[in-house]
Symmetry: C2
Subunit: 323 residues, 2 copies
Amino acid sequence: MKVLITGGAGFLGNKLAIALSEKGSCADASGRQAAIDEILLLDHVELRILPAGCRAVVGDVADPAVIERVIDADTAVVFHLAAVVSGEAEENFDLGMRVNLDATRLLLERCRSLGTCPKVLFASSVAAFGPEGGRILSSTPNRPLTSYGTQKAIAELMLNDYARKGFIQGIAFRLPTVVVRPGRPNRAASSFASSILREPLQGQAMVCPVRKDVGVWLTSPRSIVSAFIHGADLDLEKLGTWRTLNLPGLTVALEEMVAALVRKGGDAGLISWELDPAIQKIVDTWPVSIDTPEATALGFVTDSSIDEVIDIFLEEDIERAPA
Amino acid sequence: MKVLITGGAGFLGNKLAIALSEKGSCADASGRQAAIDEILLLDHVELRILPAGCRAVVGDVADPAVIERVIDADTAVVFHLAAVVSGEAEENFDLGMRVNLDATRLLLERCRSLGTCPKVLFASSVAAFGPEGGRILSSTPNRPLTSYGTQKAIAELMLNDYARKGFIQGIAFRLPTVVVRPGRPNRAASSFASSILREPLQGQAMVCPVRKDVGVWLTSPRSIVSAFIHGADLDLEKLGTWRTLNLPGLTVALEEMVAALVRKGGDAGLISWELDPAIQKIVDTWPVSIDTPEATALGFVTDSSIDEVIDIFLEEDIERAPA
C-alpha cells in the first residue's frame, strides 16, 4: 500500500513519516496490517532530510494535477496535515481558503473518484471552537471567530459527509496546540506556546505576546504522531456517525510552563513579556480545556505532564549550539 | 437601492418579492428606510407571474457571470434562498455541493469584491443539526447526517466569517419546515409535511411516508417572509459575533395536523400511511423542537397555532378546483 502525508516537510509530517517508516505497516481495509510500500511526502517546500522509505513531492496541495499525481488507486491512507496557520489565514484570507478549504475538498474528491474508499486522517484544530470560554465538552458547538477556525470546521463537515456517504473512511482530529514545536517561531498565533520553552532551552531570548495566566491546551508532537498512527489502525466504524475527535491534551498556564522550564535548567530571564493585543485577542477565542471521553475510550492518550513534554523536546528536537 | 432574491421563482422568493414590493423600502447602511428601486429575482426557471416592481433573471446561481450580472455596487440587500432541497441533495451529491455550497461562496465573494458591504440574508435550515434528538438548544452543535444539512452548516460558517471580516453584513436563518408550502409535492424529504394538509384541503389524495407521531418543527410562509423583511431592517450589530439564528416555530405532530385539517373541513380519509424507511431515516435526524431565545429577543415571531397556519394557506395559496 501507499501512504500520503500532505504537509510532509513540516515537523509533524516529518515525525509521522519517520514513525510510519519504522513501523513499516498500516491496517488495510480488512483491518490486517499490510506492508507500506511507499510513503509520499507532499509539500510546497523542499525537505531537508528525507526519512527512509519516503519519496518527496514538491507541489501545491491545492493544485488538482498535483493531487492526481500523489493519490492513486494504491493509496490506502492519506494523512492530511497541510495547512495555512492561524495568524497567516487571518491576514491572508484567500490563501487560507485555498489551502485549508479548497485543497481539502480537492483531496476528498480525488479519493472519491477512485472508488477505493481510502482512509483520510485530517489535522483539524481546537480553533474550530469559538469563544465558549474555559471548558469545552464534546457537545460544544463550533462558532469560530477566526478564518482558520472557520476553515477547519468546514473541512471537518466535508470530511464527515464524505465518510458518511462512503466515499472515504474519514477521521478528523482536533489537535491541541503542539508543544514543543521544533524550529523557528512561525506565523501561528500560538507560536509563543512553543517559543516560551524552546528559545530559553536553546539559550535564546523570546518575547511573549500574551498574559502569563493564559492557559494552553497542549500536547507533545510525539502524542500527535501516536494519535495519527493509532487512528490509521483503528476500525473507523467504531467512531459512529460523527468522525471528529477532540484529542486529549493538558491544560498548562504559561506561568506553569515557565516554572517547568526552570526545573529543567532553562533561564526564565530570557523571556520578556510584551502584550500584543491582536494575538491576545485571537488566543482568547481558544478553549483552555476540553473533555475528550470519546478519544480516551478509543485509546488515544496524551503526555503525563509539562515536564514530560519538555523531556520529549530535549530528547528529539533541541538544537544545541555548536560546541 | 437594489435588492436581489435568489431562488426568486420559488414560492418563498415570490412571496418575499410581493411583500418587499408592497413595503417599497428597506433599511440602508445607516439604518434609515430607503426606497427600493428594483427587486431582481434570480432563478433557473421562468417566473409565471412577475410581481410589481420586480425584474426576473433566468440563470444559474452557481455561474460567476450570472452572479456578476445580478449583484453590483447598487445592490444593498441579497436574500439568498436558492437551494437544492434535502432529498435531491442526498441523491445528487455534486448538484447539492454546487448550488448549496459553491453558489453561496460565489455570492459572498462577489459581495466582498464590491467593497460595499451589502446585507446578505441566507436561508439555512434546521437540517444543519444532526440527530441530537428532541429539543435543540442555542448551544447544540451541528452534526448533520445529510449532505443538505452539511452544505447548509458550511454555508453558515462561511457567511459568519465573511461577516466577521467585514466583507458583508450577514445573517443566516435556520428555517423551520415551511408549512403549508403551496404547489406540488417536491423532492424535499419534508414534502409530506405540507402535502398532508395541502392535498386533502384541495380535495386530493396523498401518501404519507412517515409515522403519525412524527413531530414537525414548522412555521408558515407568512412568518418566514416577515422574518426576512424584519432581518433586512434589523441593526445586524445586535446579533453579536454569531450571525446564525434559529427562527421560532411550532412543534406539531402529524396526527395533530390531521386533527386540525378535520377542524378546517378537510377529509382525513384522503391520507394513506405508507412508511418509506429512507424518508423516515432522514426525518429522524431532524430536530422536533428548538429553543429560540435569541430570535425572540430580536423580535422574530411564529404563528399562534397549526389552525392559523392552515388559515394562512386558505387565504393565500389554496388552489380551488375550477367551478
